[in-house]
Symmetry: C2
Subunit: 368 residues, 2 copies
C-alpha cells in the first residue's frame, strides 16, 4: 500500500527515523571540518537563502518572557523544508554552571511534516551568528577594514573573531570585557589563529582606531555599551548582543547618525536596537542589499550599523549545513521520535505490539 | 563556582542531560499503566491546569500551512514550566505508510530555559485529545448519556471510545467511517473492552439515538459531517476533527441552535467550527465552567457543542504526566541535546576537548 518515497531524506526517515545530532557529535563534526570552514559554509548557506528571501514563510519569533530570561521558538519554511529553533536567554545561568544560551532545533519535510533532523543548536547558534555578522560586514563595512573592536568576550566572541578574520579580512582585534577573565580566555583560545590581539581596559579604548566594532554582551538590560563620542566616521557597527525587548547596547544618537540595516524588519522593530525608535525610523533589510535592490554603505565616511537580533532563516541555513555534513560524514544516530506503524491508521493497535526488550538500544546507525 | 541546584528535575538535567522518551518507550509506558488509566490521569492533569487558567502565558499556535498540510508549534508556560509541541497534519501521509498526525514536544524549566524532557507526542496527543474530549463531555453532556456515535474511525477513534467509557460512562458505540476497513479495525481493537459496538452504514444512522456524537474525521476540507436534521434535543456534540482554517465538520445552523464551548477563544475563532461565525458569536471557554464561573449545559434539552481544536495547555498537562511517569518507572534515556561545559562561558574551548570514541554510546541511564 505504500507509495515509493522519492526524496532521499524522507526515505531515510521512513526507514530508520529522525537523524539526531547530539552536542558532543556536533562539536566533533565542527572539529573535523574546522571552525572557520564551518562558519564560511554556513555564511554561504545563509547568503543563498537570503537571496531567495521571497520564497520563505517568515514570522517573528514567539517569545515567552519570565523573571530571569526568555524562551523563544523560531520557525521558518520554504516550499520544501520547515525548521524551528528552541533557544533560551538566561544571563544568570552561569551560576549553576549552565550556558546563558542553549538551543536545539529541527529540520522537517514540508510535504509530510516528517521531522527529518533533530540537532543541538547551542554551538551551531554561535557559528551561524558569527557567519551572519561576517556576511553583513562583508557587505556593509569598508573593504579596507582590518581592525575590529570586540566588546564582550563571552561564549560567542571567538566565533565572531574567526568569522571576521576569514570572511572579512580582519587582522587585529582590540578586545574588552567587564570580566578580565573572559578576555584572558579569548586570548588563550585564539592563540595560533594569526590574529593580533590587544586586551583593552575600557570599551572606549578598544573602539579607538577600529574599523569595525562588534558588541556581543549578555546583560538583559538597556545598556549603553557604545556612546556617540566613541564613534568615528566610516565605522561599521555589528551590534549582536541587543536582541530582545529591554536589551540594547547602543546609544540612540548613534542610530540617528548612521545607516541601519536589519535582518527581518518586523522582528527587529520589537527586539533590536531600533526598539526605541519610531515605527518610521528608516532601516534596510540586508537581503535587499545582497540582491542589489538597495544600496549598502553610501560612502567611506558613513557609519553603518548591522542591528542583528538573529532570525529564524539563519538557523534554517545552519540546520541544512549540519544535516548535510552529518550525512556526508556518517555522523549522528537515528532515533524513534515518531512511531513507525505497520498501519498508520492503527495507532491503537501498535500498543499491542510486543514490548522492546528492556534496555535494548532503540537507535540505529545508518551509513551516509 | 556552581551554586547548588535545588529543583530535582533541573539537578538531573545538569548531571545527565535531557530525559528522552522515544515512541516505542512511550508505548511501553502506556502499556504498563493501561490506556484507560493513562487517559484518566491525563484528564486529571488537564483539569488541574485548566482550574489555574490565569497562571499561564497563553498564545494561539503558530501554523505553517502548505499545499498538503500544516506544521504547528504550540507553546505555553506558567511560572515554573514551559512546554511546546511540534505537530503536523497531512491527510495524504498514509500513502507513504506515514501517520497523518506526528508530534513531539519538550518540557522546559522557566528559570533557566533548560530542556528537561523531550518526548514523542504522537501517541500522547491521541491520549490527551481523548482525555480533553471526555473531560468536556463529563462537564457538558447529560449525566445519563450512555450511547455515543463515533464518526471517523481512524487513528484517534479507539482512544476516544475508551475515554468516554471510563470517564463519562458510555456503554454503547455507534460507529461510522467512509472506509469500512477503519470501522472493522476499531471493532477488532476494542474487543474485550466491554463496549457494545454497532457498525453503521451512514453518519445519519450512527447518530440516531445517540446521547453524544463525536466527530473525528481527517479530511482537510469544509466537510458537512453533521447536518441539522441529524441533531436531537439534549445531544452533546464533541467536534474534534475540525481544527484548522478551512477544516470543519458541522453545518453552521447546528452551532446557531446550540450552546458552544471552546478551549481558548482566540485560537478557536481561527481554527474551530466557529471560524465561519462572526467575531461576536457567543462561546464559553471550558475552564470557566470547570471553575464554576460560567454555566455549562442550561437544560436537558439544550444541544451542547465542544468545538475542540486542541490547545497547548493540554500538551503541557500531558507532558507533565509522561515525564513524571517515566521518572517513576525508570524509563527513557538521557541525551546530550545541550553541551555540558566545564566552563559555560567557554563554548569555543569545548571544541578542543577530546573527541568521543567512535560509536561510543552518548546516552546514560539514570535511576528514577
Amino acid at each position: 500500500m505504500k507509495n515509493a518515497v522519492q526524496n532521499p531524506d524522507l526515505a531515510r526517515f521512513v526507514e530508520a527515523g529522525t537523524l539526531y545530532l547530539s552536542a558532543p557529535e556536533a562539536a566533533e563534526l565542527v572539529r573535523r571540518q574546522g571552525v572557520a570552514a564551518c562558519i564560511e559554509a554556513i555564511a554561504a548557506h545563509i547568503r543563498a537563502d537570503f537571496l531567495r528571501w521571497a520564497d520563505f514563510d517568515k514570522t517573528a519569533r514567539v517569545a515567552a518572557h519570565s523573571k530571569d530570561g526568555v524562551i523563544e521558538l523560531m520557525p521558518v519554511a520554504d516550499d520544501h523544508r520547515y525548521s524551528f529553533k528552541y533557544v533560551n536567554g538566561h544571563p544568570g545561568n552561569t551560576r549553576f554552571g549552565m550556558s546563558t544560551v542553549m538551543a536545539f532545533g529541527v529540520l522537517a519535510d514540508v510535504d509530510t511534516g516528517a521531522p527529518l533532523f533533530l540537532s543541538e543548536l547551542t554551538l551551531t547558534t554561535a557559528l551561524r551568528t558569527a557567519a551572519m555578522s561576517a556576511l553583513a560586514a562583508k557587505t556593509l563595512a569598508r573593504p579596507d577594514s582590518r581592525v575590529m573592536a570586540l566588546i564582550g568576550n563571552g561564549a560567542q566572541s571567538e566565533f565572531q573573531a574567526l568569522a571576521f578574520q576569514h570572511l572579512v579580512g580582519i587582522t587585529t582585534l582590540r578586545v574588552y570585557d567587564v570580566d578580565p577573565a573572559a578576555s584572558a580566555k579569548l586570548v588563550a583560545n585564539l592563540q595560533g589563529s594569526g590574529l593580533q590581539i590587544t586586551v583593552c581596559q575600557s570599551t572606549a579604548q578598544a573602539v579607538r582606531g577600529a574599523d569595525i566594532v562588534t558588541t556581543v554582551t549578555a546583560d538583559k538590560a538597556m545598556a549603553l555599551i557604545l556612546t556617540p563620542e566613541m564613534i568615528q566616521p566610516g565605522m561599521h557597527l555589528n551590534a549582536v548582543g541587543g536582541d530582545c525587548p529591554g536589551k540594547t547596547e547602543l546609544h540612540g544618537d548613534i542610530l540617528d547618525a548612521a545607516k541601519v540595516f536589519v535582518e527581518y524588519e518586523p522582528q527587529s522593530r520589537v527586539e533590536g536596537e531600533i526598539q526605541h525608535k519610531d515605527a518610521d525610523f528608516a532601516v534596510t533589510e540586508l537581503w535587499q542589499v545582497l540582491r542589489g535592490e538597495r544600496a549598502g554603505r553610501d560612502s567611506a565616511q558613513q557609519v553603518t550599523v548591522f542591528d542583528s537580533v538573529g532570525f529564524a532563516l539563519e538557523d534554517f541555513s545552519a540546520l541544512r549545513f549540519m544535516m548535510d555534513s552529518a550525512l556526508r560524514l556518517g555522523m549522528g544516530e537515528r532515533i524513534a521520535l515518531i512511531p513507525q506503524l505497520a498501519n498508520p491508521k492503527n495507532l491503537f493497535g501498535s500498543l499491542n505490539a510486543s514490548a522492546p526488550a528492556a534496555g535494548a538500544r532503540r537507535t540505529v546507525r545508518l551509513a551516509a
